[in-house]
Symmetry: D2
Subunit: 335 residues, 4 copies
């Protein structure tokens, strides 16, 4: 006896990853909710059998016995569909930025259009289980964190809480992402010939993911510098975090802060002094891998944080949240 | 004293390569003819100086003293612009497929719309200098060959002329191209995340470049099998050509056919028996590199032909043709 | 209660894939057999737990209760270790070419050194289940097929059996592989900067995988042409197979031959007329995906066959064979 | 009448780029000096003509009339050969790190072995023309800067000189390089399958290029944080430089510092506010492209500096230095 769950946006990279993970999950049966005429008809082998497809309506979802839907859709669509599914008593895990920023004003500032469901904003739970686990099980509208903020907050928040960051320098986060972070769509900027053998920075000091980092890490805006950059790869995020350390003697001390913070976390892996994770270690998984390095002479410290942007940065974390919401083991289907 | 030449479509990959080659060419001054509102505003460094820009009209081109224009444009645009420039007594080197196939019927069959300048078709010279050099200098409308046919014909035609191909087997051409061959445009099929770590075949037995190969090589349709495939790289074409050899003893004999055919050709390079060219050898150049292998026991033979699809497959060959048309040394600006 | 199985060569790409698949397999417990001092110490996260490691000896394997070992090792090593494990009554699935070619003479011709275990050669079972399923369960020494031959034979043998190949033309197989096919080792030929933005052919008409294709497909040497080529990707093989068809009307007829051949095969997927598989469809899986195209006018036919060289081309197929040898469902751990 | 110059290490990536640039340079004739038995015999087309090859000895170089040699060799080799060529009155442009760090102690600390030519160290001129142009023409032993330090110093030194960096925060330089920076050699770390679809950091806070940055920029060690990272591309370096600005109002003010510093520099290009360079803009050239962004509210500033690591980071800059040493126009062969 499994729980029926729906996926909207199953043709996008996060949606495809959701289908992949959920199809192997012992406790759920995934359904594909066709939101729009399919703009990308995929060749399928003969006799291919996958999850069943139904229209993307609250009614159809109810008829299928679906009790939770994943929205791997743009924020405008997520706002509209969230209201509809919640009204039909179907819980929502939204992977867009629609419900992450707390207030309609904040949303409008960063996403450049009005929030159409301000009443729902207050009830949304920000689903970063490592910090807000207690709030997740009861969530009806779960807002899945952004990819960059997930890697950043897992690296930065323990440092803030340990009080080891010199505020005169603050925190610099140099973030790099694979191209799937831009979504699955036709765009010259993400065309193969524009991206291969290239590397570029964008949204310097002005990325819409910045407020998510500030909110969760309790950093002040003036203490944070963030740059997003495009790596010519399909998936993976590596963030290099720089700060000046107070009250930390060496790399081992720095590592200990993370050991204390993540001792019981199944999805945060720490590297011994001398080792630094890379994207190979995390791609295809729900792990966030963290490595540290500190120069005792200068107090300069560096933390490297790696995730799969489609895993812990999107679909993996969404399933982690679903597990908590539906009462499964938190790691079910993810290890 | 240089000759003024114009480039239409300078934002595309072939157009950019034309600008690069012509800017270093001692005999010409390139101008950029702005055909449409620029859909891709490129960041430019301060004080950047490049070729002068003028509107894409015959009048503006005449005012600039332009006597020849390159059209790196889609065939529909090339048909329209060719007529206008020729009427103004400006010679045209067209890089599209508009004037390659001889008859309006042929064009319509392969390009799926009407030819709008049938009167010009007859006068177009097909500019593959290695085979049709004598016709190029007088051309007013020069049709620059397709990328796949250039690599294919340079490999196949000498074999046909030498009479060494067993007709029972015919010629199989397995062609692979970098993504720039699809042009510079937003498209999901050529999106980075769709192409990287992938490899795919398309237009199997039905590619619009097939008739160009048949016409030049004097192959019958039933004697030819052609498949196009997409390599996850920016530029370069490698074609692997298979046949059964009659009257050829070994690899050295096979090589000799090409040595005889290309003894005086500056842009065809042959590899000694035991060596096979790859894309590294030709990218960024106007060379076509050819290597051969034959099994004396079975008569099975393989020829590998490599070009830069933006070089000998487009802009390089267009400049080679221009050199012949304007009376420059054929290799000027290309070696 | 699971069966204990060992992996030798777990640091190579096939060995890593074996560890990944077997760790999720419900019926077995994998052990890592350390054959040599580790030349590639990998950074591991703190507290990382994976399969247990023991020395690579028959004694240690017996002590661990291991009843079957996978050898993801070079053929010289596989020959030596096979003898040792078999003598200790431990069954062997060998992923190297050591036991594929039937006779010591054949082996020496293609692998350029003496076979050290000629006595074992005769008893080895060639594990391509789609054709030799009945022989696999009893195998003590299972020889796992090569990657190129797997994709080739699944495409070619049904055609031979259906008698539709015109012998005057024979079969041309243009094969392309990702770089992992060359193994995990330091080599200038597979260095990133040599491979990226390149494409190259090698072992033309002289690849050691050719005899495996001939043996399984019952092709004569003179009827077969094979070229291997390197795609700048990590994993995946696509083979384009060309022939002239006798007694086949169109693409649908051609497809029907495969439908008949693979009706009950869980790991061969066929594409409807008009669709052609690519590497995205198979990477990370044990599937072989096949698509066809035929020109009724000329009788020219093309078959595209795709596998993951580390999946159906190595580790996946090895586990498929193990499932048959140990009495599990053939698809266990692979779907 | 051209000047004869020699290239040692012409099979490496920097050496190949030197050959490419010098072959098109109007004022010199390049010779290839064969230092070791060639470990990488390259396939060459028939009749290929390139620069003449002679043994790598001072005597042979003198016989050829060579007055200047480029050493694109490891530092151990450069130390030995520099002494030999200088003794024969042949000037040296060394692309290795052998003569960059001023003292034998410094060299030993960072390169982990003794400096064998301490007497030559004092006479070496550090050839970053934008800052030390006056010293270059008379140099007999020119030490060509490292790739990372070139991009870093061109970005950082004007800021230091303008006094706009808040010392409490200092300068963070997050550097990313293509794989050719590691040289042309067999190595598992730079194997295609290890690098593709990956991204990794190395030598964090401990890179041997750090002292070059400190020396040229007049930064104190404690004010600088540097991380090197590997991009899965062949060539190009992008460095993202972070600091807190004092006495700078906005991005335009920040840009003005660079406009003032580089007004007359032919190889530094600045981007207007709102535009940021990427690697496409510089690969294949000798340019360093710089773009800036500053948040007036927080004083946080970011500078992006791009070079081709084989161009301005190695061979291009070496030719720029040669031009100054031999009295050519500084841009000869480079624009």
């Amino acid at each position: 006896m499994t729980t029926n769950v729906g996926i909207v946006g199953f043709r996008g990279y996060s949606g495809m990853e959701l289908e992949r993970i959920l199809s192997a999950h012992a406790g759920v049966t995934p359904w594909l909710l066709e939101h729009r005429a399919d703009s990308v008809p995929e060749p399928q082998p003969l006799g291919h059998i996958g999850p069943e497809r139904i229209p993307c309506t609250a009614e159809a979802a109810q008829d299928a016995g679906i009790s939770l839907v994943f929205l791997a859709t743009p924020p405008e669509v997520s706002m509209e569909l969230s209201a509809a599914f919640l009204a039909a008593n179907i819980r929502v895990v939204d992977l867009s930025g629609a419900f992450r920023l707390g207030t309609p004003e904040n949303y409008k500032h960063w996403y450049k259009h009005e929030h159409t469901q301000p009443a729902l904003l207050a009830s949304a739970v920000y689903g970063l289980p490592e910090f807000y686990r207690a709030d997740v099980p009861q969530a009806r509208l779960l807002s899945n964190p952004g990819c960059y903020p997930t890697a950043a907050n897992l690296a930065i928040r323990p440092l803030i809480q340990a009080g080891v960051i010199d505020p005169a320098c603050g925190v610099i986060c140099d973030a790099k992402s694979g191209v799937s972070g831009a979504g699955r769509k036709a765009s010259l900027k993400t065309a193969f010939s524009e991206v291969t053998e290239n590397f570029s920075a964008y949204s310097i000091l002005d990325h819409r993911h910045v407020p998510e980092v500030l909110m969760t890490s309790n950093l002040r805006e003036e203490d944070f510098s963030f740059t997003a950059q495009l790596i010519p790869i399909h998936r993976g995020i590596l963030e290099t975090v720089y700060f000046r350390a107070h009250g930390v003697g060496d790399s081992a001390d720095l590592l200990q802060i993370y050991v204390n913070a993540y001792r019981n976390e199944p999805f945060v892996r720490l590297y011994p002094v001398g080792a630094i994770p890379d994207l190979r270690a995390v791609n295809g998984t729900n792990f966030c891998d963290i490595g540290v390095k500190m120069d005792p002479k200068t107090g300069r410290a560096v933390v490297v944080s790696c995730i799969d942007n489609l895993g812990k940065g999107a679909a993996g974390q969404a399933v982690q949240n679903m597990n908590l919401m539906l009462g499964f083991d938190e790691t079910e289907g993810l290890l």
